[in-house]
Symmetry: C2
Subunit: 219 residues, 2 copies
C-alpha cells in the first residue's frame, strides 16, 4: 500500500467529502423544513442531494447525527453574522470613546439585525428539533447542550458589545439573551403564520432594541 499516494490524495478527498456533506446538509434543511423531520427519510435527503444511501452513511451514522451537524452549521453561520455586524456597526461608533445615545443604540441594533439570515426554515427546523428532543431521551441531552452552547456564545458577544457601548444588563446576562433570542424566534413564527413577508430586521426593529434598552443600564 502506497501511503505517500494516500497522503497526497487526502486534501482532494477531504475537499470532495466536505462538498458532499454540505450538499447533504443543504438538502436535509429543505426536506426537514418542507416535510418535517419525522416524515423526512434518509432516502428523501439523498435523492434531493443527488447521492446514494452509501454516500449518506459514509458521512453520517444516522438522521439524528446529520440533524445535529445541520444545527451546528446554522448556529455557526448566525454567530459569524452577529460578529460581523458588531465589527461593522458597533466598533466604529464607539471607537472615539463617546457614549452612545439611545437612538444610536437602536440604530446599531437594527443594522446588526439586518445582517442576520432571514430564514424561516431555520425557525421551523429548530422547533421540530426541540419537539423531537422532548420526546426522545436519546437526543434530549445533546439538544440541550446545543441550545445552551448557542446561548453562551451569543451572550459572550452581546455582553462584549454592550460593554464597549458602556451598557450592561440589569438581569442575568444569559437570561436576557435567552429572552431576546426567544423574541426573535417567536416573531419568525408569527410572521410565518400571518404570511408576513417583511424582512426580519423590519419586523424586529420595533421590539428588539426596545427590550434591549429596557434590560440594560449605563455603566
Amino acid at each position: 500500500m502506497d501511503t505517500t499516494a494516500l497522503r497526497e490524495d487526502a486534501p482532494v478527498d477531504s475537499a470532495r467529502r466536505q462538498k458532499t456533506r454540505a450538499r447533504l446538509l443543504d438538502a436535509a434543511f429543505e426536506i426537514f423544513a418542507e416535510h418535517g423531520v419525522h416524515a423526512a427519510s434518509v432516502e428523501m435527503i439523498t435523492e434531493a442531494a443527488g447521492f446514494t444511501r452509501g454516500a449518506f452513511y459514509s458521512n453520517f451514522s444516522s438522521k439524528n447525527e446529520l440533524f445535529f451537524a445541520l444545527m451546528e452549521r446554522e448556529k455557526s453561520l448566525r454567530i459569524e453574522q452577529l460578529n460581523e455586524g458588531v465589527a461593522q456597526f458597533l466598533a466604529p461608533a464607539v471607537g472615539g470613546g463617546a457614549a452612545l445615545g439611545d437612538d444610536a443604540v437602536v440604530e446599531i441594533i437594527t443594522k446588526v439585525l439586518e445582517l442576520q439570515s432571514d430564514d424561516r426554515r431555520w425557525w421551523l427546523v429548530q422547533s421540530e428539533f426541540q419537539l423531537l428532543a422532548m420526546r426522545d431521551p436519546e437526543i434530549s441531552a445533546g439538544f440541550l447542550e446545543y441550545q445552551d452552547g448557542f446561548v453562551r456564545e451569543l451572550t459572550t458577544i452581546v455582553v462584549e458589545a454592550l460593554t464597549s457601548a458602556s451598557l450592561r444588563f440589569t438581569i442575568d446576562a444569559e437570561e436576557a439573551v435567552r429572552v431576546i433570542a426567544e423574541l426573535c424566534a417567536n416573531a419568525e413564527a408569527r410572521a410565518l403564520l400571518a404570511g408576513d413577508e417583511r424582512k426580519l430586521s423590519e419586523r424586529l426593529s420595533a421590539s428588539v432594541p426596545a427590550i434591549m434598552l429596557a434590560l440594560t443600564e449605563r455603566l
Copy 2:
C-alpha cells in the same frame, strides 16, 4: 313530535353532552402530548375516552376542531388561575394604598406563579399546534387569532395588576407580556429536556419577577 318532552330533556342532554365533550378533550390532551398531534387519530382519542366515532363526530366536525376546543379550554383555565392569583395575592397587598417595594412585587409574582397549572403537556401540545399551523394554511389564521387573543387577555389582566401596584411597562404592554409568556414556555421546554422535576414556580421565581421589574417603572 312532542316538543315539550324535547325541551324538558334538553338540560339533561346538555349536561351529558358537556361531559362527553370534556372526556374527549381530556383524552385528546393525553394522546396529543404522548404521540404528537400528527400521529394521533380520531380512533385513538375515542378509544382512550371510551366512546365511539359517532360520539366524536356528534361533538366535533374534525380533529382540528377538537384541537381548537382543547386550546380554548386550557387557555380559559390559565386565565382563570391568573385572575385568582391576582385577587388572592395582589389585591390585599395594595388595598391599603401603600406602594409596594421590589421585594413585595417579587413575592407576589412568585405566589401568582404557584397557582398556575404546572403542565408540561400543555407546552408540548401548544408547540405541536404551532408547527402544524405553520404548515397548514387552513388553520394558521385560526391559530394566530387564538394566540393573539390569549396575549390580549393576559395583557389586560397584567396591566390592571401593574396599575394597582403603581407600576407600568416601559415598552409596549402586549410585547412585554409576549416576552414573559415566551419565557415561561421556554422554561417549560428546558425543564422537559433536562428532566427537571421542580415546579414551574420554583424554576421561574428567579427569572420572571426580574424581567417583570426590568420592563416596568413606578407610576
